[in-house]
């Protein structure tokens, strides 16, 4: 029983960064912007979070720094694609490349240093309830943030007027603009929200998952988060499900490696990436359904005419 609980806990820990980054990107894509820079923003959040935590000794300051780092870094993308109408695919890629380089440079002096870890929640009494206590009341703070964030985004997108406006921009920026909606302003805020989420996801990696700085420690999670959004057909609760499935795959392969299953460890390590490909194939097979779900103006630059 204890083992099952522990495995569930590690799955939650592996799924949390994927969930947060994907939820952020979901909002961005719902507004019609494709930001392929998730991996770069995530790694910047990771290095910023670790650095601030390491220098101040406070993981909470690290957490805030991670969020700020992701948001500021995403602003770069926003200025390029929204104010200068650059190609979103290429700009997102360059954000990732720049982030991987910049984080490596910033983090040079952090390599091998002991980090600080965000403490797990511990409510006396509740946390010691067998089985569910640990799962519900004994996890790291970012886990709770991720769940709350998912619920909040779900409510915001589908139950508020602003959310409806945001979705309409994603489906037709020209019509939204004609109705007098500030398309560019909405998109700026969405991109920055997505950046903050990616930064938070990165902070989870370097403040909870493995509280240390390792170069390229995001290991493709930003890209998997992007795939999760497609997999989820741009629906928050499906992102939640997808993130936990991928968390399970990630943890499953680690456990399989630890148990010494007679399969090369590299093959197990490649499972999350292969799973992403397989899942993408399955979900996009139905062309009409994909077209219906995809925000119609996703990835197209928009220059308001006067």
């Amino acid at each position: 029983m204890d083992i099952t609980v522990n495995i569930l806990l590690t799955i939650a820990t592996a799924a949390t960064p994927l969930l947060i980054a994907a939820i952020g990107e979901l909002v961005v894509e719902r507004s019609g912007v494709l930001n392929l820079g998730v991996e770069g923003m995530m790694i910047m959040g990771a290095v910023g979070g670790f650095g601030a935590g390491y220098l101040t000794g406070s993981p909470w300051i690290g957490l805030l720094a991670a969020i700020a780092m992701g948001a500021v870094f995403s602003l770069l993308f926003a200025v390029m694609t929204l104010s200068l109408a650059t190609n979103q695919v290429a700009t997102g890629l360059s954000l990732t490349l720049l982030g991987l380089g910049l984080s490596g440079m910033i983090g040079t002096s952090f390599v091998g240093q002991p980090g600080v870890r965000l403490p797990n929640l511990d409510i006396p009494g509740l946390s010691s309830i067998p089985v569910v206590g640990k799962l519900l009341f004994g996890q790291d703070p970012i886990f709770y943030i991720s769940i709350a964030l998912t619920a909040a985004v779900m409510w915001f997108l589908f139950k508020t007027r602003t959310g409806l406006t945001l979705r309409s921009i994603g489906d037709s920026h020209a019509s939204a603009h004609a109705l007098g909606i500030k398309v560019i302003r909405y998109r700026y805020l969405s991109v920055i929200f997505g950046g903050a989420c990616a930064g938070l996801a990165g902070g989870h990696l370097s403040l909870v998952y493995t509280p240390q700085w390792v170069e390229n420690m995001s290991a493709g999670r930003g890209w998997i988060a992007l795939a999760l959004v497609v997999f989820a057909s741009w629906r928050p609760w499906r992102v939640l499900a997808g993130a936990y499935i991928f968390g399970a795959v990630w943890i499953g392969q680690l456990h399989a490696q630890a148990f010494g299953i007679p399969v090369p460890s590299q093959m197990l390590s490649s499972l999350p990436y292969l799973a992403t490909v397989v899942v993408l194939v399955l979900i996009s097979r139905n062309k009409r359904l994909t077209m219906m779900n995809t925000p119609a103006s996703l990835g197209q630059p928009f220059v308001p005419d006067r």
Partner: protein, 376 residues
Amino acid sequence: MMRLELVKRPQRSALFSALSPFIAFALTIIAGAIMFALLGVNPLTAFRIYFIEPISQVWQLHELAIKAAPLILIAVGLSVCYKANIWNIGAEGQFVFGAIFGSAIPVLFPQFEGPLVLPLMLLLGMVGGAAYAAIPALLKTRFNTNEILTSLMLVYVAQLFLDWLVRGPWRDPQGHGFPQTIQFGDSSVLPELMPDAGRANWGFVFALVAAVLIWILMSRMLKGFEVRVLGSSPRAGRFAGFGLNRMVFFAFLLSGALAGLAGISEVSGAIGQLQPVISPGYGFTAIIVAFLGRLNPLGIIAAGLVLALTYLGGEAVQSALGISDKVARVFQGMLLFFVLGCDTLIHYRIRLIGLALTKQEGAAKLEATPKLKEAR
């Protein structure tokens, strides 16, 4: 409060089309100077070490050519993809698979020697790269799967596969446990161009030839026209009878084959054996090269040399100033950012306006047009 405003030009500006890479480079230098100053290094000293010292001797130019060759080879292939609006970003994986396929001969049949070995290896390298690139192409055409994500995911898979090969079945039994294959025999090594002057090998020639061939293809042949039409307007392309699915395969196979050729050339030329890591991110840097070269094969040759210099410069500042060689990655990323930003100038004029001013302007306009005023 300032606001940026884009005003569409009646036609694309030829001036900015030519100038934009240079403006981008100048902006990168300025940003780089700020960065070095923040790191506490005199920017002038840093730039001398970064950009001038690595190419001040003949043998260093050879090193430049070694780094530029894979970048140019991969980037000309990618330029065809991007022109066709097809996003292959997994060239790094295709590079690795080219290297693996080509290396199969010297690793598995070391006793096989003669003049046939090298051409066969190069051919196999191209086949390997193309085959690996065929996966995202197939998934896109058959199952409508986004090629950006699949081609990228396959990079991780390729790197792990190479890692397994050189630690497992292909490891040199006499290699003292080091994760590497045997050293390639003499007939499997790509010859150096001028062994007395430096290490540059035939890979650089391949790169130049490929660039010229692709340039001819894109500017002088129907296929190139097809690429451009389908890239700018798939609908128009369909009316012209150009098949989008065929184009996806064409672009992926071509860019995959060139990336594979780059991979096997790198392994049989500069490295001489397979190792767990055979590329300092050439496949990703080549994306920058393609854009800096304005997706034009001849421009890509120049861009490839520039980006190769950023690698050499990164190594130089690391050894001379103790700054992480990651600085190269930062330079490359900034360069791409500025190139993309400057490209906006080709299609748009940029106006900076204060918000207050626009309101005044608007009021003035209202005064000047009586009809509009009446309508109010």
